[in-house]
């Protein structure tokens, strides 16, 4: 019993920090509200799709920026997609970098774009690690027989 409440406290603290530090925003909460007994894995499923999508986009971006003649429209199109999907799951910091990235595309600023690529990759890896840690915590709580606390 003690283990469960300790894990639940950890979960609440961890989740709060993710919101406070801007890794996640309200959209993530919206996704959690869509999860119920008939769709118990909804959040993990959507986030997994986001991970797959993101990794493809990061590869596409790296390739596009390595071309002798960079097609900034193409780069912008990938960033637009990344901005959209990150915004849909509430990965706020990733979305913010994408906004800056699009400005660099508009200016056809190669150095700026390369820096943004590094930044967006960095933010993506951070949020991916944090979400995976969050899901692991959830699993631990469930396996210990507890329920996931509702965050308001």
């Amino acid at each position: 019993m003690a283990a469960v409440s300790q894990l639940q406290r950890q979960f609440i603290e961890y989740t709060s920090s993710l919101y406070n530090e801007g890794y996640l925003d309200d959209q993530f909460t919206q996704l959690q509200k869509l999860q119920d007994e008939s769709n118990p894995d909804f959040v993990v499923e959507v986030v997994s799709l986001f991970f797959e999508d993101s990794e493809k986009l990061l590869n596409n971006l790296a390739t596009a920026l390595q071309q002798k003649i960079v097609d900034y429209k193409q780069v912008d199109s990938h960033v637009h997609q990344f901005k959209g999907s990150s915004s849909s799951i509430g990965a706020q910091r990733v979305t913010n970098v994408c906004v800056h990235f699009r400005n660099c595309c508009e200016e056809k600023n190669l150095d700026g774009c390369l820096r943004c690529l590094q930044q967006v990759k960095h933010e993506y890896i951070l949020v991916r690690n944090k979400l995976e840690a969050l899901f692991r915590l959830e699993q631990q709580i469930l396996q210990a027989g507890g329920s996931i606390p509702m965050m308001e």
């Binding site: 869509l34 959507v46 999508d53 199109s77 637009h80 959209g84």
Partner: protein
């Protein structure tokens, strides 16, 4: 907090059928859940071409055995899609004799007044900013209770 009501088998046929069109798999999945949660039946399409086929307006509609298409009560389409945009799809729907009465909602992550204006002018029922929330869908669901399409033009900004 509302709990989603379980829809009984006999109510299955009475649920409005929504066609969600978006090139993003993440967004298709989220929108499907949002609408299912509001007691709608959902079909998704990844582009405008597929959407038109599902609506019975595919390129070979005259040869298409299934030329009737699905009975769709609402189309919700992303604006920015490669190839046929949401705006192009909207135009095709509104130009077609068979399906022009179906309300079309345009969703977009970008708040561009000229874009909103041209979509509403072309006959979009509403323009909603992404990402969609459950409250947006609940409002749409209430509007679908009425058999007549909404005459007014609304823009839901945030």
């Amino acid at each position: 907090m509302d709990s989603s009501t379980k829809v009984g088998m006999k109510e299955e046929e009475e649920r409005p059928h929504v066609l969600v069109v978006d090139d993003s798999l993440v967004d298709r999945k989220i929108m499907e859940r949002l609408f299912t949660n509001s007691a709608c039946k959902v079909t998704t399409a990844e582009n405008g071409q597929k959407a038109l086929e599902l609506l019975g307006q595919g390129e070979d509609k005259h040869n298409n055995i299934n030329h009737q298409g699905l009975k769709i009560n609402l189309v919700v389409t992303d604006y920015c899609m490669p190839g046929m945009t949401g705006y192009d799809l909207l135009k095709k729907v509104k130009e077609s004799c068979d399906i022009k009465e179906i309300p079309v909602i345009i969703v977009s992550s970008e708040n561009v007044p000229t874009r909103i204006e041209k979509c509403l002018k072309e006959g979009a029922q509403e323009f909603i900013l992404k990402p969609l929330k459950q409250s947006d869908v609940k409002k749409l669901r209430c509007q679908m209770q009425f058999t007549q399409p909404m005459k007014g033009r609304l823009c839901m900004g945030r």
